[in-house]
Amino acid sequence: MKKNSLIIGFIASLLLVFGIALGTTANVQAAKSNSLTSSHPVQYNKKKKEVTLLTTVNGTYFTQPTRHVIVNVDGSNGNKSLLKTNATPKQIYNDLKKVGAKPGDNLDMKSKAGSKVKGSSIKVFFVINGKRVKAEKAVQVNNKNLKKLDFKFGGNMKTNNKAKTGCVLCFDSCPVGIVSGAKYGYKYGEHFTGKSSVLPKDGSNLKVVMQVK
């Protein structure tokens, strides 16, 4: 008898804890930043040569290293990036082309380590408190600040379709990501962390602007 009541008490307390947890954690999501929503996460502006997309901050990578900046949530790397988005790599690829960017398409999985991504230069900004902040200012490598990541429109639509990783924006030269940084070559092995002092907190929405130079 005692044993049974102990077990029932134990299960009840587990349920209670779960209840509290669900009650407090289910308040995230439902995004609205200007006209961007989680169901319409991308916009482009031909005049300004800009593509804007809505993302969600993943605070895991404030302390842990990653090489993925923006990844589509349904991709196999969906949980491995600093920023998650509902926008698909294909949408971003098409919109960047529409605003006049030309894909480099110079890398594939067999490329030599150290090869650098080519394509139209892209400036990447994070919109924090209404202000545009360069992506470089929001990340660091081994606790050191960065100057320029030199993002390029790598294109890579073929490998991207095949790999199904969902990669949109990579930190270093990548044969899969639609846009990636040419500062670090392919398979360079360097990783970055997001700066919690610059970026909004985990779970917040963040607009990202990609401007074709």
Binding site: K2, K3, L6, I7, G9, F10, S13, L14, V17, F18, I20, A21, T24, T25, V28, Q29, T56, G59, T60, F62, T63, Q64, P65, T66, R67, H68, N77, G78, N79, K80, H191, D202, G203
Partner: protein, 380 residues
């Protein structure tokens, strides 16, 4: 029912420990959802319970409450040391929410897991008070050939064959062993230090592997590694690393001997010789190990093997080894740490070293006297 809950709890805690430590490997954390490690480890632990605990009646595999509490506390402290509080909360939360592909708040997810584990642990504590689990008495099984000892023998032989066989098959392993043996035998402290350092974050792991490797291969000296560790990580952390990895090495030697087992060893070394060794360990058991460990120039690994053949308990062996190797480890680490300069440190180290030799000689003399007295008593 409660036993199963207890075993699963241990599985979950060990699983969380493994999953969180796996975050330290960027390669791994970029490729898989580390949360899966938790159920996998929990299942392995449960299977261990089913086989070793239920069938073979081994104490470690039933995870009595004190062990459960110990595992929890050690895991928690280890994770805090590795990640710090903020990192720990983030990584724990991330591991769980990634598993469910959810966007829960990181601190809340970590808090919920913490509370669940705490409530679970309290329930186990209450149960351990209401229905204490007695230790399984192992009896004198060590001298008989049981199913368990047969299995251990096979597992140990397979392990040893792999250890030796792979040397001829894998070139990397072959080169590694050769390089290490030469460095250790030549007492090349600087070479060893640079080698360990070249592994970066993985240095301590490589150093641990080296220490275990030198334990299994008895003739190689361990103190070179202790020097190198202190040289690299400072005397304090170097000493902690050397101490812990040497314990691991001693444990492995002990278990290799245990695995080979008494009945098999009796055939090779003869019953008489083993009987003598038993008597020796019986009489001076714990002290022998402490003293032998104190003496700097004795290869301790033979003693670990020897102790494995007697019916000495693992716990006793580990405590004696731990205490016995502490002074020498600290002294070597002080010397190792001062190799880089600091004359004061060098001075303290030298004094400590001389003290260590003197004390161990005195203790040895006292012990010999005691032994002589006893043998006189016997003749009366």
């Amino acid at each position: 029912m409660m036993t199963r809950l207890r075993v699963i709890y241990n599985g979950v805690v060990i699983g969380i420990l493994c999953a969180l430590l796996a975050w330290k490997s960027t390669w791994l954390q970029m490729r898989m959802s580390l949360g899966w490690i938790i159920p996998i480890v929990a299942i392995i632990v449960y299977l261990c319970y089913m086989y070793y605990g239920k069938k073979l009646q081994q104490n470690w595999a039933i995870f009595r409450f004190p062990e459960t509490l110990g595992i929890t506390i050690v895991s928690f402290i280890l994770l805090l040391m590795v990640f710090g509080w903020q990192g720990f909360v983030t990584v724990l939360g991330a591991t769980i929410r990634e598993l469910f592909k959810a966007q829960w708040s990181l601190p809340w997810t970590a808090a919920v897991i913490g509370i669940i584990l705490l409530v679970w642990l309290i329930a186990l504590f209450i149960d351990s008070r209401l229905h204490p689990v007695a230790k399984i008495v192992s009896g004198d099984k060590i001298k008989k050939l049981t199913l368990q000892s047969k299995i251990s023998l096979v597992v140990t032989i397979v392990f040893l064959v792999l250890l030796v066989g792979l040397y001829y098959v894998i070139p990397g392993y072959h080169d590694f062993i050769n390089k290490m043996s030469i460095m250790l035998a030549k007492l090349d402290i600087k070479g060893l230090r640079d080698y360990i350092n070249s592994f970066g974050v993985w240095g301590p792991l490589i150093s641990t592997l080296l220490m275990v490797f030198q334990s299994v291969l008895a003739p190689l000296p361990a103190f070179v590694l202790t020097f190198a560790n202190a040289y690299l990580y400072g005397w304090y952390f170097g000493a902690a690393l050397s101490w812990a990895s040497a314990m691991l090495g001693a444990l492995l030697c002990f278990y290799i001997a245990r695995g080979i087992g008494r009945p098999f060893a009796e055939k090779i070394i003869t019953k008489n010789a083993l009987g003598k060794m038993d008597g020796f360990f019986d009489e001076y058991g714990d002290y022998t190990i402490i003293i032998l460990r104190l003496l700097p120039f004795i290869s301790f690994d033979e003693v670990s093997y020897g102790a494995g053949f007697t019916d000495m308990k693992v716990g006793k062996f580990m405590i004696a080894t731990g205490i016995g190797q502490l002074p020498a480890t600290i002294v070597y680490s002080l010397v190792g740490g001062s190799l880089d300069g600091s004359k004061m440190m060098m001075f303290i180290a030298l004094i400590a070293f001389i003290l260590l030799v003197v004390i161990s000689l005195v203790v040895r003399k006292v012990m010999l006297n005691k032994q002589a007295k006893r043998s006189v008593d016997v003749t009366k």
